[in-house]
C-alpha cells in the first residue's frame, strides 16, 4: 500500500502532469464539438445543423421581417449575414435594443422545418456593446446591403 518513500515526490509530480494533460485533452475533445457552436446563416445553410443541436446563430435582423404573434410574447424574424437568410422564432422578452436592422446573436436550435427556435437573444446591450461575433458587420435595413469584415 505504502508508496516507496524515495519515489513519492516523483509520483506526485507525474500525477500532476497527467492531470494537467488530462485537462487539456478533455477541453480539446469538448471544444471540437463546441468549435461549431457559433453559426452565421451561411454556415448553417452550407454546413447544415442537425435539428435540436444547441448553437448560436448570429447576424442581422432583416428589415421588415419582424412579426409579433397573437400571444404577444412570440416574435418571428429573419436573420441574415448578407449571403443567406434563416427564419427564426423567439418566445420571450426581447432585449431592449433588439430591432430590425440591428445585430443579434440568438441561442437555441433548429426545428425540423429549418426554423431557428431561439431560447435567448443577445442584442446590442448598449450603444457600446456589440456581440463579439458580429464585430465588423454592418447592415442597412432599408437597402438590405450587408458588409462583413
Amino acid at each position: 500500500m505504502a508508496m516507496k518513500k524515495k519515489h513519492q515526490r516523483l509520483v506526485l509530480a507525474l500525477i500532476a502532469l497527467v492531470a494537467v494533460i488530462g485537462a487539456g485533452l478533455l477541453a480539446a475533445s469538448a471544444l471540437k464539438d463546441e468549435a461549431a457552436y457559433f453559426y452565421t446563416p451561411e454556415d448553417a445553410k452550407v454546413k447544415g445543423v442537425e435539428p435540436g443541436k444547441a448553437i448560436r446563430l448570429g447576424g442581422m435582423v432583416v428589415g421588415g421581417s419582424l412579426k409579433k404573434q397573437a400571444d404577444g410574447v412570440t416574435i418571428a424574424f429573419d436573420v441574415t449575414d448578407g449571403k443567406a437568410v434563416v427564419p427564426a422564432r423567439f418566445t420571450g422578452i426581447a432585449p431592449d435594443l433588439f430591432r430590425e436592422g440591428s445585430g443579434v446573436v440568438a441561442e437555441g436550435s433548429f426545428d425540423r422545418n429549418g426554423t431557428f427556435i431561439a431560447t435567448n437573444l443577445l442584442a446590442k446591450h448598449d450603444e457600446r456593446y456589440m456581440p463579439r461575433e458580429l464585430e465588423g458587420m454592418t447592415y442597412n435595413a432599408t437597402s438590405h446591403e450587408m458588409k462583413a469584415q
Binding site: K5, A16, A19, V20, A23, L26, A30, G72, Y129
Partner: protein, 649 residues
Amino acid sequence: MIAELGLAALWMAAALAALQLLFSVLGLAQGKAELLSGVRPVAIAQGVLVLLAFLCLVALFWRSDMSVALVALNSHSAKPWLYKFAGAWGNHEGSMLLWVTVMGAAGAAVALFERALRRDTHMATLGAQAAISLGFYAFLLFSSNPFARLDPAPRDGQGLNPLLQDPGLAFHPPTLYFGYVGLSVAFSFAVGALVTRRVDALFARAMRPWVLAAWVLLTIGITAGSYWAYYELGWGGWWFWDPVENASLMPWLAATALLHSVTVLATRDALRAWTVMLAVVAFSMSMVGTFLVRSGILTSVHAFAVDPERGSFILALLAIYIGGALALFALRVGTVREGAQFELVSREALLVVNNLLLTVILGVVLIGTLYPLMTEAFGHKVSVGPPYFDRIAGPLALALMLAMVAGPLTRWRRDRAGVVGGRLIWPLLAMLGAGAVLGVLAHGRLSLLSFFGLVIAVGVALGSVIPLFKRNLRRTPLFVYGMVIAHLGCAVSIAGMASDSAFTTEKLIAMAPGDRVESAGWTLHFDRVAPLAGDNWIAMQADVSVSRGGAKAVLHPQSRFFTSPPTTTTESAILTRWNGQLYVVLGEQLEDGRWQMRIWWKPFVTLIWLGGLMIALGGVLTLIGRERRGWMLRLRKGSAARGTGEEWA
C-alpha cells in the same frame, strides 16, 4: 489642485516602490543590513502615498470636477451620491488605481505586522511586492493617468453606465480586487521563500492568512456578482459562463486549491514545491482576470472598456511576472527539499485529489475562456458557451464534492481504508436514500447533473458535519467549525443550483391591466401600470398583486429609461419566500395595449448565494481561529523584538 496633488502622490509612491525594490535586492545580494532596514519604512510610506492619491480621485468624483477627463467621461452631476463615490473605481483608470492602492496598503501591512517570518524572507517578500506594484504604477502613469485634465472643461459629464448604477455593483469590483491583491501578496511570499530558499511550514503559516483572506473576498465577490447578474440582467439566470465571470472564477479555483495545499504545508510540512507553484498559478489567474476585464479584449455584457494598447501593457506585465516567477521556480525547485511523507490513504492524499481536480477544472475553464481569443487571432471567430462548461466542469465539480466528503473524515499521514469506509457509511447511505427518493418522485424530470447534484449535496451536507460528532463542541477549535461551515456551504449552494435548474417554472404571457394568471401555485393579478421618475431615470412601473395560500404581496417590476447615456433597463421584481423566489419581469408594451410579463418560480434558488456566504463565513472563522493566537501575541508584545518563529512551533 486636488488632481495635481494626486498625481504627485502617485509619482512619489512609484519612486518609493522602486527604492523598496532596490533596497531589498541590494541588501539581500550584498548582505547589507542597513539597506534591508530601510525596506519596511519605505513600504509603509509607499502605502500611505498611494492611499492619498486614491483619496484625491475619490474627492474629485465627489465634487464632480468636470475638468478632470476621467470624471467628465464617467460621472454626471445629477448622479446619486453613492454612484459619484463608486464612480471613482467604476472605470478603467480608477479601478487600476484602486488595485495599486490596495496593493500598497497590503505591502504596508506586511511590513508592519508580519513577525513570524525570517527577516531575509520577509525583506525578499517586500521586494517582490514592490516589483509587482512598480509595474502597475508604470501602467497608470504612462498609459492610464486617472488625473489627466480636460481643457476646456465640459459643462457636465457623460454619466455612468446605468447597468452599473446599482448599490451591489458599487462594492462588487473592489471586493474582487482585494481578493486579487491578496493573491499577489501570497505570490510575493512564495517568491520571497524561493529567493531565500526557505520553503517550509514557517513560510506557509505566514502566507496562509493572506490566502484565506483573499479567498474569502473572492468568494464574496463571486457570490455578489452572481446575485447582481441574477436580478439586474432580468434573465433569471445566475451564472452565464461569461468570460468576465470566468475571470473571477479562475483565481478562486486556484485560491481554493492553494488554501488546501498551504494547510498541508503549514500542518504537515508536505507539498512544498506544489504549494509554491500554486501560489504562482493563483496570482497568474488574478493577472489573467485583470487582463481579460481591463484590456477590452472581450466584448461581452460586462466589459465596457475598449483599448488594445492597455491590453498589451497588462499582457507584458503578466509575461514578466509569471515568466520571472516560473524561471525562479525552475532554478530553485532543486533546492526545495522534499517535505514530510504520507500514505496513500491519508488526508494529505485526499487533499492532493482536491488540488488535482481543482487544477483540472481551472485548466478546462481557462482553455474554454481563452480559446475564442486564440482562434480569433487566426481570423476565425468561435464562441464557447455554457454547454462546454456545464458538460465538463459540472461532473468534475461533483467528483470534487465526493472527495470533500471523505477528506475531513480521514486522518493526517496515515489511515486505514476500512476505517475510513466505516466513517463514510452514513453519507453513502444518505446519498443512496436521496437517490432513491428522487428517482421515484421526480423520475424523468431531472437532468443527470441536477440529479447527482441533489444527491451529492445530501452526502456532503451530512459528511461535512460528521467531524463534529462525539466532540466536545465547546472545546472544538474555531477552524474546525470554519471547515465544517464552508463545506456545508458547498452542499447548500450545489443543492440550490440543482434545484433551480431542475424545478424552476417559467411563464411568459402578454397581460392587460386587470388580467389574472396562475403559475406554480401563485396567482398574479396585474393591477395597473404607471409612469414613475427617479433621480436620473424615468420608468413604467407595474403593480402586480401576488398570492399563494394565505401569503400576499405586491411586486413592482419596472422598465427603466436612463437619460445619460440613453439606455433602457428592465428592473425585475423579486419576492423571496423561505422556499424560493418569485421573479417577475415587465417586458415591452404591445400595440394592443397589453404588456409582456415573464414570471418565474424558482424553488430554493436562494440557497445558491446562502451557500456562498456560508463558504465565506467558514473562511472568516478559520482565519480568526488560526490567527487569533498570533494576533494576541503581537498585540501584547507591541512592536517589540521581531519573532524568530519559535512562537509558532
